[in-house]
């Protein structure tokens, strides 16, 4: 019996090991309070292990783990009730009008370089993520860090496929605008932080 349980823990940890790095990054990017990320991660892993009996081999362990972690982080974010205060409010019409500006950013010199994004713009990136709603941020991160398909994201977040596509498009656009905001001249941009 001991051997069986040891095998179960070993099997769980073996499945967990390849995605540890992505899970940690995801929790740090998704959570409002960065110092709570380790707690969220630990709670999610223990919760997943407790429910490991119900995990089916044919399902994606990666998607299953990201779903549990998302729920854990959302619960912590709700507890602090800080989401609405930090959101970057934009009406749908404003977003539509900004599409051209955002996509033409490279021509206007607003496109951040990879080095800038990777090294210099870390605080700006964190601030940009804060302009997103919880759902937008989760969809964006599940796609970028979790490498999940749209359908897996829909299952993980319990939302329709169309909503995933809509949230992802808005998240990318708002992130791009928030990152480029300081480089866009007032006359060339319609962005106005609320």
């Amino acid at each position: 019996m001991h051997t069986t349980t040891t095998t179960e823990a070993d099997r769980f940890l073996a499945l967990l090991e390849p995605i540890e790095r992505d899970l940690e990054r995801y929790s740090r990017r998704l959570i409002w309070e960065p110092q709570e990320a380790p707690d969220a991660l630990q709670n999610a892993v223990l919760r997943a292990f407790a429910a490991f009996d119900r995990y089916h081999e044919d399902a994606s362990f990666r998607a299953w783990m990201f779903r549990i972690l998302t729920n854990e982080v959302f619960a912590l974010n709700r507890k602090h009730a800080r989401i609405a205060r930090h959101e970057f409010q934009l009406e749908p019409e404003e977003l539509e009008g900004l599409v051209g500006t955002a996509l033409d950013g490279e021509e206007g010199g607003a496109m951040p370089t990879p080095e800038a994004l990777a090294e210099r713009m870390e605080p700006e990136l964190a601030a940009a993520l804060r302009t997103l709603t919880d759902a937008e941020r989760a969809v964006l991160l599940l796609r970028a860090l979790g490498d999940l398909r749209y359908r897996e994201i829909a299952v993980s977040l319990d939302m329709p496929l169309g909503s995933v596509m809509g949230h992802l498009a808005r998240a990318r656009l708002k992130t791009r605008l928030a990152l480029a905001r300081h480089q866009i001249t007032p006359t060339s941009s319609k962005v106005s932080p609320s």
Binding site: T6, L13, R21, F49, A50, P114, A144, M165, R172, R176
Partner: protein, 199 residues
């Protein structure tokens, strides 16, 4: 598809989420439309850079060591709980051969009860009851009647003129003394003569 429709599908196209037919239509459009092709290229570049930026940061080994330790502790607890639930049942014949301490404790308790009943409950309470409770009026009346009859009978036997030589002498079971209980329950020893018997 026109440029606006193509632009709205940029994300799913770059994420390889579209079906083959739609993807082919977009490819053909991008080949023919430099403006859309440029926007798609910019979109893809931004997505790549964003992903690179988001993936920055090394994992924390000590955090994962602690998590692994907690998982193993949880596994041990799970193991203990399962062992408690799934303990194999003892064979029936072993219970007959070796009944166990509970059986012997029960037998000892039964013996104690039996001894208590034998020495304490049946004997002592009967004596105590006889000594403390005087006979009821009905019993007392019956005893008095019996004594009177016995006295009369003894008196007729010892009367003058009787052929005492031919009559056999009546012998009381306790010819010398009789034990009587008075109202207080004290034992009184009296000579078995008719005169001394209380009426």
């Amino acid at each position: 598809m026109n440029c606006h429709e193509i632009q709205s599908l940029a994300g799913p196209y770059l994420d390889s989420e579209l079906d083959a037919k739609t993807s082919l239509a977009i490819q053909q459009h991008l080949t023919a439309c430099p403006a859309c092709a440029r926007r798609f290229a910019a979109e893809q570049e931004f997505a790549t850079r964003l992903t690179t930026a988001l993936r920055r940061g090394e994992p924390t080994p000590e955090l994962w060591r602690g998590i692994e330790e907690r998982v193993r502790t949880a596994a041990a607890r799970k193991n203990a709980a399962r062992a408690g639930r799934e303990q194999p049942a003892e064979p029936w014949w072993r219970a007959w051969l070796w009944p166990g301490p509970r059986f012997y404790a029960g037998v000892a308790a039964l013996w104690v009860v039996m001894l208590a009943v034998h020495f304490g409950y049946l004997r002592e309470p009967a004596q105590v009851q006889a000594a403390s409770n005087p006979p009821s009026p009905v019993v007392q009346s019956a005893l008095a009647q019996q004594r009177r009859e016995l006295a009369e009978m003894l008196g007729s036997v010892s009367a003058p003129g009787a052929a005492s030589a031919t009559q056999p002498k009546l012998v009381s079971p306790r010819s010398e003394l009789r034990q009587l209980h008075d109202q207080t329950g004290q034992t009184t020893w009296l000579p078995a003569t008719p005169e001394s018997l209380p009426v």
